[in-house]
Subunit: 185 residues, 2 copies
DNA sequence: AACGGACGAGACGGTGCCGTCTCGACGCCA
DNA sequence: TGGCGTCGAGACGGCACCGTCTCGTCCGTT
């Protein structure tokens, strides 16, 4: 019925508009213009602006973390950080994510969506890295896995997004060292 | 000339509006109504909405980190994390900060302001904790101080703000342990 | 008592946007 | 060939807001 390529163009336009102007300043007119599409095409697909943004973000966030299982804690952490970096530094997502967090603090529905669709799945996957390391005896059985996850994501996010400073050569290796050292008591 | 208590009421209203609705959705009408003030009082003080927001944020962010100097790395880190927590978990600032970060990624002027007025001074103060620890020989001389700073702030920010999960009893002690362990090679 | 400046309230023109609607064009299926 | 549904474009009424402006009031100074 509805043309898939029109839907695709709209989705792209929404993401680009979010990246350029943020959640609070996204307008349907700008989206339709950017997509080269009539406003009717938007309202034929979603009932309102909020519904449209929700649907697009949900679809865009399907990219997931991967569980490496390299056989060693260091190897797993390095690979996990690599995937995390690719996610956080993604040229479009990195510009949308802070706005999403800000929006989530004012809009409980967005907060729940972020937790359910993004945070939860990613953490579940990454947790396996540390449970395997415990089984291998590389780190203590009472290791605080939740804090270990916060550590990896937090260090990288704080530098790249909050401070806005790009990674330099060997950065992820240094973060890997730091995390491994913190966990090996 | 201008009534200080009117200025104060406006400043408070701007902060509350930012916390409730974010940067993109702040309106002068809402601010004037919230402050119980005419719109003319706003434009008598600032030339535009952007100028007003900039001035208010700048003034609000004067709260600074403190340099503890307890004599030990652990004590200094613990005290620094305490101050950091008070800042990040501040009931109003915690709701404004994510919006500020999002805004900074779209508005270079806001990015520079955030770096100059907030990030720079805080980091300069906290850096002293680690230079003292190096002088005392508690940690290696080639310790990556910048990453140590990112670690403390990142872990706490990721949990409290990005994930939106409050700290539980003993949380800061656990973070302190983790940071100390990571730095002592 | 008289003056002046800041005050609250809100009217005003102008702009940007939402969501609805109409229009003619195009493509597909019978 | 005719009919139907989506298409791009954009007009439309309504609303929220910006920044300016005009009131009449209040308060401190002289």
């Amino acid at each position: 019925m509805l043309q898939p390529d029109v839907t695709y163009a709209i989705t792209e336009a929404v993401i680009d508009e979010l990246a350029d102007h943020g959640f609070g300043r996204l307008s349907m007119e700008a989206v339709s213009k950017r997509a080269g599409v009539g406003k009717s095409a938007l309202y034929r697909r979603w009932r309102s602006k909020d519904e449209m943004i929700g649907a697009v973000i949900a679809e865009f966030s399907l990219a997931r973390a991967v569980d490496p299982d390299t056989g060693s804690l260091r190897g797993d952490i390095r690979a996990t950080l690599e995937a995390l970096y690719g996610w956080i530094a993604h040229p479009r997502f990195s510009r949308i994510f802070p706005g999403l967090i800000a929006e989530a603090r004012q809009n409980p529905a967005m907060a729940e969506f972020a937790r359910e669709a993004i945070g939860g799945p990613r953490r579940a996957i990454n947790r396996a890295v540390f449970t395997r390391a415990i089984e291998r005896g590389e780190i203590p059985a009472d290791t605080d896995i939740e804090m270990a996850l916060d550590m990896g994501a937090g260090i990288v996010y704080w530098r790249l997004i909050v401070r806005g400073i790009p990674a330099e050569e060997g950065y992820l290796d240094q973060v890997t060292d730091l995390v491994v050292r913190a966990l090996r008591a």
